[in-house]
Amino acid sequence: MVARSSGTPPKTPTIDRDAIRDLARLLDETGLTEIELQRDGVLIRVARNLTARTQPSPLPVATVVDAKTPSPIPVEPHPGLIVSPMVGTAYLGPSPGARPFVDVGSEVKAGETLMIIEAMKTMNQIPAPRPGTVIQILIEDGQPVEYSEPLMIIE
């Protein structure tokens, strides 16, 4: 389960834990996979990732900004968060249509390739910085990514 907050920063940029807990409980009760609530300029989204372990983990919001979106609230990054070391296009598998390098739930060794980021026609392998289990994949195959964009969570 993921809690995300964005929107106009409130005066104190703290996380409304109670609201997230309430929404998470509602998620369990209703069996929904996602609830989004916008109130006082703050957007809270709770979503269920059915294959991942239940783990509320605040994530930094993607940093693509345009004139209409205000700056995201700074939130503590997940300690197992892997962010993109470069600008490029991310691929989850070694070639189009091939099996992805890892899936949610995969056990990975340190140094194992998690994905490829293509920049300037060069395929850059992104290695796991430490051993662990892939608990979430935050990008789609073929998605453009910025520097420091969240890619994956490994625990």
Binding site: A67, T89, V145
Partner: protein, 450 residues
């Protein structure tokens, strides 16, 4: 015309380029480091891409990241602004190899003018006047002494491998020459690993005059008059004006036409500036800048020509629709570069702007990426913004400058606004009677009085 332009820069020049793109109806991509996520150019662009961490070497100078940003956004042209990669020939070449247009001159001209010795030789071959001196490096001390007798004193001994004011020695008279030679050679050897020297006539109180050029790459070149940038501190211009208060129309026409003719010969493409020292009615080539310059608004204000839009049109169409007779000069313009620095010590003063009130009114232009609540990051240059004022005459322009400087409020950081208020009251500035050492002498007098 281009489908989408990626602006490979930050700060006020990124905003300046963005404005030209918007007026031409071209979508824009801003790039930024993690330190600039809240910057105004990022907010106002149609799309933005974070290309790296705060150090410029990993973000704004990172060629692979910029190319990848072009790829993921589909930008088909890059405007480099000034600084960073604007005069990097390799960058222009790599973009070309990836079918992305570089909005700037051809790589060969960037490379030629980037090499000081080659540029000076090229200028001489093109009929541009240069500082009298040795034609390249001088070998033996005897050769230097022979040259010194020819050129006369004062002379400047320069380390061939030096630059930015380092490795230079002023020699006022013949009896100083032997010691100056040995110490400069020893210093050059120690600092640059090369004791090769060259010799130039030293100019005592020259002015810095530069000519703005636009070319279509096929031999059609026009000039947009000159700017006088003689008020400098440590080779950094802080006050620029046009037309120069020191030139009469004959001298002006002569140097502008000489510069344009030389650029016709090499079929120069895009915007460029040829810089001269001017003393005793004689011009001497310093260097050529193959990019848009910080002080380009001075020229825009007296010609009503949008230089950045012209750069984009030339790069897109390979054509320059303006003719020399279309360029009409009117009035006078002065630009002040307001930096986030202590106005006395010039110590940088990054931080949060807690109050911001730019001046307005007729004939006042502010080119700045600052805003109320903006935090100036410590990683990049200290320019807060440029105040450019225009008047029908130089007198009117100066009165307007006084008024605009008094209106300008930037609180929370230190700025050089107080220095400009003081300069605008100085009799020699008002008379236009200053040279490239004037400001440092003025600052030294101020320091001595304290």
């Amino acid at each position: 015309m281009f489908d989408k332009i990626l602006i490979a820069n930050r700060g006020e020049i990124a905003l300046r380029v963005l404005r030209a793109c918007k007026e031409l109806g071209i979508p824009t991509v801003a790039v930024h480091s993690t330190a600039d996520a809240d910057a105004m150019h990022v907010r106002l662009a149609d799309e933005s891409v974070c290309i790296g961490p705060p150090p410029a070497i990993d973000s704004y100078l990172n060629i692979p990241a910029l190319l990848a940003a072009c790829e993921i956004t589909g930008a088909d042209a890059v405007h480099p602004g000034y600084g960073f990669l604007a005069e990097n020939a390799r960058f222009a070449e790599i973009l070309g190899e990836h079918n992305v247009h570089f909005i700037g001159p051809r790589p060969e001209h960037i490379r030629l003018m980037g090499d000081k010795v080659a540029a000076k030789r090229a200028a001489k071959d093109l009929g541009i006047p240069i500082v009298p001196g040795s034609d390249g490096n001088v070998g033996s001390d005897a050769e230097v002494e022979r040259l010194a007798r020819e050129l006369g004193f004062p002379l400047l001994l320069k380390a061939a491998a030096g630059g930015g004011g380092r490795g230079m020695k002023l020699v006022r008279a013949a009896d100083e020459l032997p010691i100056a030679l040995s110490t400069t050679r020893a210093e050059a050897k120690a600092a640059f690993g090369d004791d090769a020297l060259y010799v130039e006539r030293y100019l005592e109180k020259p002015r810095h005059i530069e000519v703005q050029i636009l070319g279509d790459g096929k031999g059609h070149v026009i000039h947009l008059g000159e700017r006088d940038c003689s008020l400098q501190r440590r080779h950094q211009k802080i006050w620029e004006e046009g037309p120069s208060p020191a030139l009469n129309s004959a001298a002006r026409d002569q140097i502008c036409e000489t510069a344009a003719r030389a650029m016709r010969t090499i079929k120069y493409l895009g915007a460029g500036t040829i810089e001269f020292l001017y003393e005793d009615g004689k011009f001497s080539f310093i260097e050529m800048n193959t990019r848009i310059q910080v002080e380009h608004p001075v020229t825009e204000m007296i010609t009503d020509i949008d230089l950045v839009a012209e750069q984009i049109r030339i790069a897109a169409n390979g054509d320059l629709s303006l003719k020399q007779r279309d360029v009409k000069f009117h009035g006078h313009a002065i630009e002040c570069r307001i930096n986030a620095e202590n106005p006395v010590s010039f110590r940088p003063s990054p931080g949060k702007i807690v109050h911001y009130h730019p001046p307005g009114g007729l004939g006042v232009r502010i080119d700045s990426a600052a805003y109320y609540g903006y935090t100036i990051p410590p990683y990049y240059d200290s320019l807060v913004g440029k105040l450019i004022v225009h008047g029908k005459t130089r007198d009117e322009c100066l009165m307007r400058l006084h008024r605009a400087l008094d209106e300008f409020v930037v609180d929370g950081i230190e700025t050089t606004l107080p220095l400009f208020r003081a300069l605008a009251r100085e009799a020699e500035i008002i008379d236009g009677d200053y040279h490239i050492h004037w400001l440092e002498e003025f600052l030294a007098r101020g320091a001595a009085e304290q």
